[in-house]
Amino acid sequence: MSVRYAWLRALARPTAAIGALVVGGWLVVAVLSHALAPFDPLHSMVPLMTPGAHGPGGTVFWLGTDALGRDVLSRLIYGARTVVVVATAATLTAYALGIVTGLLAGYFRGHVDIALSFITNVVLSFPVLVLYIVIIVALGASAANVVLAVTFGSAPAIFRIVRAITIDLRSRDFIAAAITQGESTWRILLVEILPNASGALVVDFCLRLGYSAITMGVLGFLGLGLPPPTPDWGGMVNEGRTMAFAFPHLVLFPCLAISSLVLGLSLLADGLRQPAGRVGRG
């Protein structure tokens, strides 16, 4: 069965199926946030209503309202859009950076490899949060800076994965064949090596998306995330934390949201890992 069918067959596996369902669900919520959200997430109505309370004009605050009287459910829905957009953007930029450097280092080895690996090592040994804060305090909090910060955090890890795969594939005979047949280096990298690495990379992409979502949550939690009033899960936890004792709904629902998204992504990654990564037993 060719590789394409492998994906479909994998998705049938329970872990991947649940993961795909959860992630798909949040994706739909993010895309259709305008339609799904019962209220305008930025509009203050009645402060600190408990979940299920009735709002003005027969409406119901299913998940209650926050300190500023904004509907928590609507902010969760729009928060999904923020997370999906920003986390994906960050992960894609990190991937672009990681793949290019990883391929070059893995294929050419020698000085290129030593230099790039050293830079990665330096960035990895830098305390990640100081990196985030320095970037954000220096440039000010905005979606672009969060993307930059998250990219800086994930690119080294992606570099290492791509480099390892490239080194392994480079020793395979079909690359030697391509070289002896006069294939150009760029074609070998992009047509022969990268597609074969895609299996493992897709698995890591799912995990990396999860880490980016967590990082955004942490930044929001520490008050370094997106500027108010952007609905952002981490920010919601940060805002609601002080009143959590009396109004747990302010923090529980955003935490459940982010955990479920990341769990979905991890399950998806784990489910997809079988056909692409580990050689079947026996």
Partner: protein, 548 residues
């Protein structure tokens, strides 16, 4: 009190036995005939050196603070959660928390109680000249510094000269700009010469930045925590910024010794919910600050004493008139007109507070003058914007630092929603608290927290007089300064509030700021903490506090 007013005046005495100031007798008569409220008259009399006991007798007011309760227990350590801030020179310290720390060890010439009545402190007595331009003070005898030196007029002269010196970084330079010279008369007496009459001078001497430091303070490095010499009831033993400060009771204090053995100030960071949790777990006894978001948490613990106090503290969202686009008054007016004060108070502070009127003077300030009510008018805001050349709206940025708590950011977000209705696209630039204090007077449109001041005039003096050290809005208006000087010179509270009206009106017309509400002040104490009274200015004297 049926005593005929004329004869009543004769019962009044001054602390130093000097002749009564001519204004005293008419003021007492007005109070007795109920033409002005007796509390504000008592306050003015205390300025003029009249002994409070005699004044209360004449005006028929009960002796203040005759606490009947159980006898206070001596001893014990009080753990006070309060941020321990970076501080070297008390005269230039901007934060109230820091002033509360050194307040235990260094004292003031006068003491203003929570009813705004000025009492003798290091100055035993004082009396002003008729034209209120010369003030004679007599210091308390037998007071010793913690390093053994005697407390003399030399110390006071060193301090006052230091405040009003041209290079001084202390806000006192503006507050006491009127003082032209200080003339020591003898070991314990000195005279102050003023350029213009300032009736409330004794009350100003109790401002947070006016403690009397030892005369060799600057010679010994001008770093008080490192060389904590003081005349007060406690002695500072160790001071670590951001962590801990410890004061122990000092033997040989001139006054009545404090009840507590030791006060430990613990800096538990900016998360106030953490402080409440620590209080609930019995790890601490007293919190310095509680904001609206922790209120519901505290209500869950009935044994905790929730102390609340109306306060003139407020959030000032001011626009710098010398920076684009705020140099155009129509833009400023549009912002002020679109602000919905009720909504801000309701959502950001859950109605625990009093509405402001965009001029920083609180309704309960004695010298407040009621102006016609402020109405929100989005339509005219939109029209003004169009006239100013922004037909399809304008992009503005409000910088804030949540220095006192999350309600600052919430207030900002309500303003954001309000402005949106008028076509103003307001974005919030939230910076870490410490970071905000480095840019608070530089950002064109910023939200700054201002602490309580007993008098409206004190606030306007500090924040809006041209060239004042803390004039963050770079507001400079000759008519306003004149109105302020005029108000400062008037003794009679009734007349003074009329003069204040002009100053308030100018601030409103010039649309200097959006100042929506005066949030109530909360603090909370453990069950066993006794006689700790919340003070509107947050000036906590700890020597009367004891632990049951």
């Amino acid at each position: 009190m049926s005593e005929p007013p004329a004869r009543a005046a004769q019962w009044l005495r001054t602390n130093d036995g000097s002749r009564l100031h001519p204004a005293v007798e008419p003021l007492a008569r007005d109070a007795l005939q109920h033409r002005t409220d007796r509390r504000s008259v008592l306050r003015v009399l205390s300025w003029l050196g009249v002994s409070i006991a005699s004044a209360r007798g004449v005006l028929g007011m009960p002796a203040a603070g005759a606490a009947a309760g159980p006898a206070p227990r001596r001893g014990g350590t009080l753990r006070f959660v309060c941020s321990v801030q970076q501080m070297t020179d008390p005269a230039a310290t901007t934060w109230i928390e820091a002033s509360n720390l050194f307040r235990n060890s260094v004292e003031f010439l006068t003491y203003v109680d929570s009813d705004n009545v000025t009492h003798p402190y290091l100055a035993e007595s004082w009396h002003p000249s008729e034209d209120l331009e010369t003030w004679d003070f007599k210091l308390r005898a037998g007071v010793r510094w913690s390093n053994g030196d005697p407390f003399t007029v030399e110390d006071v002269v060193f301090n006052i000269r230091r405040w009003i010196a041209p290079g001084s970084k202390s806000p006192n330079r503006t507050t006491f700009a009127a003082i032209t010279a200080i003339e020591p008369l003898d070991e314990l007496r000195f005279r102050l010469h003023l350029a213009r009459p300032v009736c409330s001078l004794p009350e100003h001497l109790y401002a947070a930045t006016c403690p009397i430091l030892h005369r060799k303070f600057e010679e010994q490095g001008a770093n008080w925590p490192r060389n904590p010499v003081g005349t007060g009831p406690f002695q500072l033993t160790d001071y670590h910024v951001g962590r801990l400060a410890v004061f122990k009771r000092r033997p040989g204090y001139w006054g009545q010794p404090a009840y507590l053995d030791e006060i430990r100030y613990l800096d538990l960071g900016t998360e106030i919910a953490t402080h409440v949790a620590a209080l609930a777990a019995g790890q601490v006894d007293l919190l310095y600050r509680l904001t609206i978001s922790e209120l519901d948490l505290v209500e869950r613990f009935p044994e905790m004493q929730l102390l609340t106090e109306p306060s003139a503290q407020t959030l000032v969202m001011r626009m710098q008139q010398d920076k684009k686009p705020f140099d155009d008054i129509r833009v400023r007016k549009a912002v002020v007109l679109s602000a919905d004060r009720e909504q801000m108070l309701r959502f950001a502070y859950r109605n625990y507070g009093v509405l402001g009127e965009h001029h920083h003077v609180a309704p309960f300030h004695p010298d407040y003058f009621r102006l016609p009510p402020v109405k929100r008018d989005v339509e005219s805001a939109r029209r003004l914007l169009a006239q100013a050349g922004y037909p399809d709206g304008i992009d503005l940025t409000l910088a804030l630092g949540n220095t006192q708590g999350r309600y600052e950011q919430d207030t900002g977000q309500i303003l954001q929603q309000n402005c949106a209705e008028a076509g103003i696209r307001l974005s919030l630039q939230v910076v870490p608290a410490a970071q905000y204090w480095t840019i608070w007077d530089k950002v064109p449109f910023g939200m700054t927290y201002w602490g309580h001041r007993p008098l409206g005039v004190m606030v306007l003096e500090l924040a809006y007089r041209s060239g004042s050290v803390w004039n963050e809005s770079h507001f400079s208006n000759a008519k306003f300064d004149a109105a302020l000087d005029h108000a400062l010179g008037i003794l009679d509270p009734h007349e003074r509030s009329a003069a204040m009206g002009d100053a308030e009106r100018i601030l409103q017309e010039e649309a200097v700021m959006v100042q929506a509400y005066f949030p109530k002040k909360f603090t909370v104490a453990g069950a066993h903490v006794r006689d700790f009274r919340a003070d509107p200015q947050d000036y906590y004297r700890m020597d009367k506090v004891w632990l049951a």
